[in-house]
Subunit: 313 residues, 4 copies
């Protein structure tokens, strides 16, 4: 991803600012605010603004418990407690705003998270940039055979090259015709004086789904963790997962205690079903258990065994 | 839009059903439930389920007012009152579910309405149909010169034909390559035995934004009216407006009193700003007023004059 | 709880109705629709309307997976899969509406669930009924000593009687003065002709928090299960838990497959933290593990042991 | 309202802080951050944190319009445009957090605004303060005769005194018994060693609805304006209106351009129905119009005449 001179100047200007505030600030996040973190071939994500930190979560939780809690909870212990017991509203007290550039098909998955605010670059007003996502060759793979979504085995080099060629050529070709149809250069000047050009809102329908778009995205910490837990999951599409991984790093800077609790109680653990818990209890008592003993399907049983690092049936 | 035999059979089966229920039913809506109403060249919308009717709104409002309201409000008067005074929660008591097929660029606008439930056909699991939106020639137009979005003057026949040619050719071409890349026919059978085929989630990024997608969409009546008020607006893109118009007809069948109130108090009226109201008052007193007398911009003044059927300045 | 004659007549009328509909219906729920189910001493809950059933969830999920899923999933298996993998939107496709009567302090907990629609009886318009929640003696208990909320040991009979006396007397006394202040009988007629009476919105502030209120409450199935998982939890206050238990029975009638999946994967199971999972794995390998081996606090460790039916440390 | 020494010290400490940040700051709001603004007899509201300012709104709007907008909009003009045309998402980009103390009956109205985050002091954990709202005498009034809610004529001094006496006495009396039942002083120490005391979650139900509670409340600017437009309305209950007025002052400091636009286009204007607009147009053409000419009810007509400063029919 290449920055325009204008963007570089703007980022320099913003990161040089030093305002005085009575609000709480997070040094580790201030260090990277406004800076671009590349994702995919032309995408990026950057933090634009934030509100609150770990102590804001603690403060909100304490107003709930008030004088009723006699013991002095340590902040870290309290945050762990909140995470463990699904007391979610204190985490909503923190808010963060990102500027993201990503392919349209990624944006389509992302926007399914409804409890966030989005302002997207509108292709009715603006001319989209000539930028398309072309996967790295090692990320090309066949349809997965076991989960009916996602990717399985890698493609042969030949087939991979064919795919990359198609993606590159078709995106370029469609963009050329997009430009031709709306008949404007990137500054909005008419290209061919003999043609009127069609409205941008019509021309854009010729673009392919790997064309890049961008938006501002604001979300609270509770809903951000929900986004992360779904989009960091191995079943999430690789391309959006890479954005989620970058966001996770940013969250680690922003609210380090919440990050630890999130990894400990949400990402790193496992949920056992009623039957799964029954199986574990019986195995702990030295019993040999099979899927039929606890009325689990073989598929679920094998999922459980995988979680427990045990051989599948 | 052409139905598959399978779909036709399913619709016939569903519309022949007659279940018995103690819930309130709406005859005019039952008449069209499940039936497809075409929109654009391959799109459609149909009602799949609903809950509540005008009387459910009245019932919910009455639990709020309870015995405190001595006068027997007529239902219609009460619904008008609620609409006029922005008492919105009773309208949330009604719910409707649609099945919609529309081009991806329309879906992208539609999904901005967050207070609804969506289940979209996933191109990670499924192979999308070979169907693209190609505008009717009379709907091709140049970028609007006055509102920096939307459409202005029509294109010449020659230019229009060029645009339609591009849209048709590029969509077909990209779809062919999509099919070639994932290497499956519409039944999921491998086309070329010598190639693995790339995962569907990757191949789909080669599709153009006028490719059709479909989803189930469930929303309550209050939020539906909000959707309609924005998407029936002349500034909304024509393509989504055509869906909104079809939905408005369906709403008229479903909750006719609420429909009347919506047209009277939301769609048909006008909002005057503080300055606009001041201007009207002075004009009603026989004064000759210009935009500067009430500190309005010329643009706003002319918008007001248009609303009042008066000549612009 | 006693019904007015008017209410009884209305319920008789509604349950005698038999409308014809093309929508799917749920016989087991139709059997109890409109009927009052008592909760606490004067409260109740009843189903007023619903939309969708188990098959609506399956239908919405299938539009997502479409032709991409070759295997014929059985409905039950698909619902289990959705629940297990947190695919929540298909469950949002079902909607249910309740009429609930509950004490104000219960209503205050209930309304924290934001993704629902509420129309509450307004004490600005209406005169509230002379009905207060007085707990059964066996439900009076001291503050819990271990979880800083909730109840612990039972009260002595003497102390319990004192408490019940206070609750009864103060609620009655405050209601008498409420009535005196607004100066109207239950039909809205002035009681004392020599006094004006104060506005209801002011008089009501003299009522105690165990006064009953009522509302219509509409929610989708996904959010209903979230409500249930929190309000059926042993840490939830007993009074709201009793409502949740009644709702769970109603849900069992409405969407029996989803009910089974909910009990299997949400209510009956357990969530293990990263450290907890580590501990289980090591125990399954025959290791003797203590809380410090996996860096858990003693409190968390004991919670885990309880889940696994093992002795606490 | 009286502050504890502890609170005063904390506020002094916080307002003395000066952190350095790269985020945008709002000087006029920093001047009052953390400071208590009294509302009612014991209530208050104060700003605890904020994110964004007028320029954040402009920035978010510009990412939507991008290079498509050739003209350099002035910030103020752009904000006015957004407000006028209901482009609401850019206003969601600003966030503010308040600490509020208010009577429970006010909290019950407030919480109906669902798109906000709340952490309320829990009476299951904490002992509520001995503080009750007692209206000023001039705010006591009879039930309004025309809008079936709200207040009408003032009470006689005698009746007013009786009401105030009841409110004071009953609140104190109920609080005394609350304290007696849970059997703890304000530091959580047992009062009477011979009694166990009942759980706080039970004792609190004896409190009257004018008892004060408090919470942290976080909301974005768009939803805050929605809250204000409803709660500043003359039909809103006086007590919550006083909080809204204080918040409006705070908003004026925070986002002055948005404040101006809000007053101009939302608060100060008027919405004309379809029939109302028709009437105005005909009156502007010199016609004499009555309510029946445009099929308005007499009530609606008179509301319109009031808006236009014309005599009622």
């Amino acid at each position: 991803m290449q920055l325009t001179l204008e963007q570089e100047t703007e980022i320099k200007r913003l990161t040089a600012v030093s305002n005085s505030t009575k609000r709480s600030t997070v040094t580790a996040l201030e260090e990277i605010i406004y800076k671009l973190f590349p994702v995919l071939d032309h995408g990026f994500i950057r933090v634009i603004d934030y509100m609150g930190d770990d102590s804001a979560i603690v403060q909100a939780a304490r107003v709930s418990y008030g004088r009723g809690t006699k013991k002095v909870h340590q902040d870290k212990g309290l945050i762990n407690y909140l995470m463990r017991n699904r007391h979610t509203t204190p985490f909503e007290m923190c808010e963060i705003k990102f500027h993201v550039k990503m392919p349209i098909f990624v944006a389509r998955q992302w926007i399914r998270h409804r409890t966030a605010t989005v302002n997207e670059c509108s292709a009715r007003y603006s001319i989209l940039d000539r930028e398309f996502y072309i996967p790295a060759q090692e990320n090309l793979a066949a349809q997965s055979s076991d989960n009916s979504q996602g990717r399985g085995v890698s493609l042969s080099e030949n087939e991979a090259n064919d795919v990359l060629n198609i993606l590159r050529t078709d995106a370029e070709h469609c963009y050329n015709n997009y430009e031709k149809m709306h008949n404007e250069d990137e500054y909005g000047n008419r290209i061919d004086e003999n043609r009127t050009g069609v409205a941008r809102e019509l021309a854009r329908m010729n673009l392919t789904l790997n064309t890049y778009t961008q938006w501002y995205w604001k979300i609270d910490l509770h809903n951000l963790m929900h986004f992360l837990s779904l989009r960091l999951h191995p079943h999430a599409q690789l391309e959006i997962r890479l954005y989620a991984e970058q966001i996770l790093e940013m969250m680690k800077r922003w609210t380090p205690m919440t990050y630890e609790a999130f990894m400990q109680y949400r990402m790193g653990g496992a949920h056992l079903s009623s039957a799964g818990l029954e199986a574990v209890k019986r195995m702990l008592n030295g019993e040999k258990v099979s899927h039929s003993d606890v009325e689990m399907t073989k598929r679920e049983w094998n999922e459980l065994m995988k979680v427990l690092d045990k051989p599948e049936e």
